[in-house]
């Protein structure tokens, strides 16, 4: 009787182990299948895949312009999202009265809940029109539009993760600072923010990851022309695309080597975001360790 009971327990434990290991399998599967689809592109094109020339008719497939576009659009988005996000998180975590916090927190969560296709739709009907008129550009589709949309989309994740990081700073730290006569703002600036800095960095990295991987909204508001604008940093120009937009727009009607190239773009995306996830995770673990000791 006792033996069968422990046996049953062992079996249950192993069932859960298999379920838990499933996420490892998923990651391995994703990587394996993406890579096996991308491999022909690497063998037939080699490092020319990083060229900036993309022409379906000439069968030149260089995704350099898309990589560059991803970089520019992400930088633009972060210029908007990082200062605003961190400032909002400080307000929420440290300064907002309890009632305001309880009211604002779900609203920020709401912002995170809006599907990306809805952002894309709003981008088309409101933002693009607005940019076209006020900057007198040809179409309004531009890096700027992508950066604005992505900046707003990356805000909630930066705010809520930074807020968590700030809230995780032990009360004792702040009270000690207040006790020696520092004002509340001095405490925030000199004690709370430095203590939470690794958590805030984790938030920023996650925000960057979100911006790099975001697809639908960006693909709708970008010009989707596989060229680097001249000059390259012209965020108003109606050329340029990102890796995600490239995949979404070309996957439907691609064939042969072009499909494999698009898969290799996905491999690059996956690697970038995986590295960022791991980095963010390490930073968060560090902050946990720090405060458990203290």
């Amino acid at each position: 009787m006792l033996l069968s009971r422990t046996l049953k327990e062992e079996i249950i434990k192993h069932i859960f182990l298999v379920i838990a290991a499933f996420s490892i399998f998923i990651i391995l599967f994703i990587f394996f299948f993406l890579f096996s689809e991308a491999y022909p592109a690497f063998t037939s094109i080699g490092f020319d895949i990083f060229n900036t020339e993309w022409s379906v008719s000439k069968e030149h497939y260089g995704i350099g312009a898309a990589i560059f576009g991803t970089l520019i659009v992400t930088i633009g988005a972060m210029l908007i999202a990082i200062p605003l996000g961190i400032a909002s998180a400080i307000f929420l975590a440290e300064l907002a009265p309890y009632k305001l916090r309880v009211f604002l927190k779900p609203i920020i969560e709401l912002l995170a809940g809006i599907p990306s296709i809805v952002y894309g739709f709003i981008g088309i009907v409101l933002l693009i029109k607005f940019l076209r008129i006020s900057f007198d550009s040809l179409s309004g589709y531009s890096y700027l539009a992508g950066s604005l949309i992505l900046g707003v989309m990356a805000l909630p994740i930066i705010i809520s993760m930074s807020d968590d990081a700030l809230k995780a700073v032990p009360r004792g730290f702040k009270e000690a600072s207040l006790a020696v006569g520092a004002t509340k703002w001095q405490t925030i600036r000199k004690v709370t923010i430095p203590s939470a800095i690794s958590g805030i960095s984790a938030a920023v990295i996650m925000g960057i990851g979100r911006a790099v991987g975001e697809t639908m909204a960006v693909s709708l508001v970008l010009p989707n022309i596989m060229k680097i604008p001249i000059p390259p940093f012209d965020i108003f120009e109606s050329t340029g695309t990102t890796l995600t937009a490239l995949i979404v727009n070309q996957m439907g009607e691609s064939s042969g080597i072009q499909t494999h190239v698009l898969f290799s773009a996905a491999v690059i995306l996956f690697l970038i975001v995986a590295i960022m996830s791991i980095a963010s995770n390490i930073l968060r673990e560090r902050i946990e360790k720090k405060f458990k000791g203290g």
Partner: protein
């Protein structure tokens, strides 16, 4: 140069501000900096617009003077270098977000009349950076300089402005969608098939498809997600395996939805075709990390002594988990899962190559048939805007999609608040 007299003056002002509960000065600087920004901006805009050379040069001189004043006050006031960087960024963002939307179209940057895009870009960015430095350094001034209550007030003020800027796009999105979309929601719209590329008819198949995708996602992700959380939280000992699983969950959480979509295209579509099953499996994988993290959190919040009490009366580990640990953790687990399903309802990229057709899929008879879905429907309508008269239906679809996703999220929050178990 000797700036002592200025320091004395500043000390005097500081003393003044200290005595007064309400810091006049910090609001003064904010007002001043916005004035500077306004004058500078309008001078630049009108420069190429007005023919009068006198007005042009006057405005230019005025703007230069103010700029010199800003630079001068900046160096006199001993600010730190990192403050400059912070001010530039903050001022840049605040100003570009305040000014650009406020400009009416006829006063937009078209007044520059510069053809080369480099010049256009350089000009706008230089203006914004200058104004950013001006507004930023002056408005941040009080935070750093005064040690009284004034600094707290102004910090509060600036942080409040930043959160208002965060809420601004939310208000625009929600306001527009509600105002333009609610009129299109009629019984016919909800129950009729899509006709004429979405310009007429309703969205019934897409609505049903989205509900089916959510159900399918729940069937895939709930057992896997909750099971994984139970293993990680209840059974596993800290070690290499737990660490690997945890890293994999993190990577999965960060994986872009389009990458999931391509994975589905490469793996599931050859097996199951473009079908509900492929879509549900992909969406299940996508929501899995959300459910795992939420369930882990929920299980972690159940205190250890409750488990020990259960072991003490002779219960096995599984009995303890089933009868003691899971019931109080359930509301939070459900909340996390519902949030995950809300995400699944709104995602487009994972299903667009694996599960959906724009028109003609109808209601699937079995899981191996393709479906229609609201997000993909909205994508196709958005692509048709400007070519066909789909605007009314597009707004209504956006409204419905937003209502479903946010309704699901609200439901999750209500569950969390209503059934919360406190220890």
């Amino acid at each position: 140069m000797d700036f002592d007299f200025l320091e004395d003056r500043i000390d005097a002002i500081e003393a003044l501000v200290k005595d007064h509960p309400f810091s006049l000065l910090c609001y003064g600087t904010l007002l001043y900096s916005s004035l500077v920004a306004l004058i500078g901006f309008s001078s630049i805009v009108t420069m190429t617009y007005l023919g009068d050379i006198l007005i042009r040069s006057l405005l230019l001189v005025l703007f230069l003077l103010i700029f010199i004043l800003i630079v001068y006050s900046y160096f006199v006031l001993h600010q730190k270098k990192k403050l400059l960087v912070m001010s530039i960024i903050a001022g840049f963002v605040i100003l570009s977000m305040i000014f650009i939307p406020l400009l009416p179209p006829e006063y937009g940057l078209r007044q520059f009349d510069i053809d080369a895009s480099l010049l256009k870009f350089l000009a706008t960015s230089i203006i914004l950076v200058i104004l950013g430095v001006a507004c930023g350094s002056l408005s941040f001034q009080p935070l750093y300089h005064f040690k009284s209550k004034a600094s707290e007030k102004s910090a509060y003020y600036i942080l409040l402005v930043s959160i208002l800027l965060v809420l601004y796009p939310l208000a625009i999105i929600m306001g527009n969608i509600i105002v333009n979309g609610v009129g299109g929601i009629t019984w016919e719209f909800l129950t009729e098939d899509v006709r004429r590329l979405g310009t007429e008819g309703g969205i019934f198949p897409a609505l049903i498809g989205t509900l089916l995708i959510m159900i399918g996602t729940a069937l895939v992700a709930l057992p896997l997600g909750i099971g994984c959380a139970i293993y990680l939280q209840e059974y596993a000992k800290k070690g290499i395996l737990v660490r690997i699983i945890s890293i994999c969950v993190d990577i999965l959480q960060g994986t872009p939805s389009i990458v999931h979509g391509l994975f589905g295209l490469a793996f599931f579509v050859p097996l199951f075709g473009i079908s509900l099953l492929s879509g549900a499996l992909i969406m299940g994988f996508l929501t899995l990390p959300i459910i795992i993290r939420a369930s882990e959190e929920a299980l972690r919040s159940v205190p250890q002594n409750i488990r020990e009490g259960s072991y003490a009366v002779g219960a096995t580990k599984w009995q303890t988990i089933r009868k003691v640990v899971l019931p109080p953790a359930l509301p939070s687990i459900i909340t996390g899962s519902v949030l995950g399903l809300g995400r699944a309802a709104g995602e487009t990229a994972p299903i667009m190559f694996t599960a959906v057709y724009f028109i003609g899929a109808g209601i699937p008879q079995n899981p191996l048939q393709p479906i229609q879905a609201l997000p993909y429907h909205l994508l196709e309508l958005t692509r048709l805007i400007g070519y066909k008269s789909v605007d009314q239906n597009a707004w209504a679809t956006a409204f419905l999609l937003l209502a479903i996703v946010l309704g699901v999220n609200a439901l999750a929050i209500i569950i969390r608040e209503k059934y919360r178990v406190e220890f």
